[in-house]
């Protein structure tokens, strides 16, 4: 079924289930308890999880397989976003043309940037991609303001032509839709204190992520994927074996750029505006973190890494001192104040500090990322399985 082997099929089905039941899984706490703070089952965050998942899956095809560390992939995401908004301004609010054009434009951009950057390897390649991305950012922020909206970003307006759609609906800007299916609509389900939200936009993005994930599994198992791994392993041997590494790396670069463009387009489909800060180097760094945190070169790693980072960012950054105080209420005042003072730098704006610590911990103690952690735990539980995986460590357990 699906042309996958047993292990991959199992993995794919697990991811399908995770995506399908995420509104439940991410909302483990009833609404009225203090821990509801940690619920992540609201549409914005769930959409962000799957969209960054797509971004990281694509990035992993380049970095995880070939080992080429790009520091400029946010540029393709940004370009995809701008292209998507333009389609919604000019053509229609239907997200399909927006997504297609996002992918195509990001693909062309990555072809150009990849063609130049891939003339170098190692740190020089990384610096070239970084330089290109920062150039894109600066252009978008200032010179290209008519195209990008500059500082304020590119937004829809009531004067947009939308030649095959409608310009306005009852005096308002229409919302993005998929053949009439409103991206911003959602259904709430209240069960005994829990409240679950099923958002159309989330499921739309989720299905696209599943397709993107499936294609990456196919790519990983294909001869092309084997060649990309060979590049990381020994590029010298590769050329003395009659293989030209350049087109392989360029193809991987463009594919990962198109994934980034798709992610950018989906962001727009969920919320139709695009800003230059999406192209900033910190955004490029974030996808590197996601991939490494989850496990570079593994199938599921980037998705997990994207999930963890998007979750930490959204949840920890909303915790403030009064929430901390409410957690430690029961303790004596002095202890309560002490704990709040200690934790204060790690929450709210300090969430980067938490992320940094988590990242350092993983890189130092679990170089293979979350996936490696999962594998080690799995091995602890079943010795028999450990024997199987030792000879052939299958990526993406």
């Amino acid at each position: 079924m699906l042309g996958l082997n047993n292990a991959d099929r199992k993995l794919f089905l697990i991811v399908v289930c995770l995506v399908a039941f995420a509104p439940f899984i991410l909302n483990p706490f009833p609404d009225n308890v203090g821990m509801a703070q940690f619920n992540a089952g609201y549409p914005d965050l769930m959409q962000k999880l799957v969209i960054f998942g797509i971004f990281a899956i694509g990035y992993n095809i380049l970095f995880g397989l070939t080992g080429y560390l790009s520091f400029g992939h946010a540029a393709f995401l940004g370009v995809g976003s701008y292209a998507g908004v333009w389609m919604m301004k000019l053509l229609t609010m239907n997200v399909v043309p927006a997504l297609i054009v996002s992918v195509v434009v990001a693909g062309l951009f990555s072809l150009l940037i990849g063609y130049v950057s891939l003339r170098r390897t190692g740190i020089y390649f990384s610096i070239l991609t970084l330089a290109f991305a920062q150039m894109c950012y600066s252009l978008a922020y200032s010179v290209l303001t008519p195209l990008t909206g500059g500082e304020t970003g590119l937004t829809l307006s009531l004067n947009d032509p939308r030649v095959i759609g409608v310009t306005e609906v009852d005096g308002n800007i229409p919302v993005p839709h998929f053949f009439g299916l409103d991206m911003q609509s959602a259904v709430d389900l209240d069960v005994a204190g829990w409240s679950f939200t099923f958002s159309t936009g989330y499921y739309f993005a989720g299905v696209i992520m599943l397709v993107a994930f499936y294609m990456s599994v196919r790519l990983f198992r294909s001869p092309f994927g084997l060649m990309l791994r060979a590049i990381k392993s020994n590029q010298n041997r590769m050329s003395y074996t009659g293989l030209n590494a350049r087109p392989y790396t360029l193809a991987a670069f463009v594919i990962s750029g198109m994934y980034a463009g798709l992610a950018g387009g989906l962001m727009v489909a969920m919320d139709p505006l695009a800003g230059a800060e999406r192209m900033l180097w910190t955004a490029s760094g974030e996808v590197v973190l996601m991939t490494i945190l989850g496990g570079a070169g593994t199938l599921i790693g980037p998705v997990l890494g994207a999930g963890v980072i998007a979750y930490l960012e959204s949840i920890i950054s909303t915790i403030n001192d009064s929430i901390l105080h409410s957690w430690f209420q029961a303790l004596p005042d002095s202890l309560e104040n002490f704990l709040v003072t200690i934790l204060h730098p790690f929450v709210g704006h300090g969430w980067h500090l938490t992320l940094g610590l988590v990242f350092m911990g993983i890189v130092i103690f679990l170089p293979g990322g979350i996936v490696e952690g999962g594998r080690r735990i799995g091995n602890l539980f079943s010795r028999k399985k450990a024997d199987d995986t030792e000879t052939a460590p299958e990526p993406g357990e």
Binding site: G3, L219, R221, P223, F224, L226, T241, G242, L243, N244
Partner: protein, 252 residues
């Protein structure tokens, strides 16, 4: 006219003349050995043949086509395959994958966008690779990571990777160095069989005279970058110049 013609090749590294006016004419279907003391320029000569180094002057003609100026992968696609002095393998891949990669390179050329098919569905290629591993006695190790192999096994793996491409010209840089005696004898037998069955031309660099005299049809002696003599093995053994430059030294 041989399958490989090397004419007047020179290569300097700074003040060192690594190759000085090297001429070589290798006949199709023969095994041509190059011997010489350490630092004689043997590996440098092979580097010039596979596009790793560009000689300062001279020409290299393979099957009537010039080799110099081409990229390493193009030279390989012409039918020249090389086994390196220090094994060059894909260490992060399994033994089987190491052999699959050259199989794909042979079938699909230097680049093919083959991103949707599964490697496991490539029945022909898989059989081809496994048969090759069987031939070098490594089939039982096919799922091992290449990095975990012994030095001798790495060499045999690299040889399998070259042979599976069925090149017209096989360049071997000390293929038995680091091998146990039994493995050396297996390698000799394998190379003999391949030469006879598949009519592959070989250029072999070797310090082990047992290997050289078992395989070579002609021998060139290289010393300080220049060929001293070129002759059939029987004449090389007793040649005074050779004793002086090489064998004498090796016997000390």
């Amino acid at each position: 006219m041989g399958i490989l013609e090397v004419n007047g090749v020179n290569k300097r590294f700074g003040g060192l003349q690594a190759l000085g006016d090297v001429n070589l004419d290798v006949q199709e279907g023969t095994c041509h050995a190059i011997i010489g003391p350490n630092g004689a320029g043997k590996s440098t000569l092979l580097n010039c043949l596979v596009g790793k180094l560009a000689p300062d002057t001279g020409s290299v003609i393979f099957q009537g086509n010039p080799v110099l100026g081409r990229k390493p992968h193009e030279i390989n696609q012409m039918g020249i395959s090389r086994v390196f002095q220090t094994p060059e393998i894909f260490s992060d891949q399994t033994v089987l994958e190491n052999v699959l990669i050259p199989c794909f390179a042979r079938r699909d050329g230097s680049f093919r966008m083959h991103a949707y098919e599964s490697v496991n569905d490539e029945g022909d290629i898989l059989t081809q690779a496994e048969e090759m591993l069987e031939e070098v006695n490594m089939l039982s190790k096919k799922d091992m990571m290449a990095s975990s192999l012994s030095r001798g096994d790495k060499r045999r793996l690299e040889m399998a990777m070259s042979l599976v491409q069925q090149p017209q010209l096989l360049l071997l840089d000390e293929p038995t160095a680091g091998m146990a005696r039994a493995d050396t004898n297996n390698t000799i037998a394998l190379l003999k069989e391949i030469k006879e069955k598949r009519n592959i031309t070989m250029v072999i660099i070797e310090h082990d005279m047992h290997v050289v005299f078992s395989l070579a049809d002609r021998i060139t002696v290289l010393a300080q970058g220049t060929p001293l003599v070129e002759d059939i093995p029987e004449n090389i053994k007793g040649h005074p110049k050779v004793r002086e430059a090489y064998l004498g030294e090796a016997q000390v």
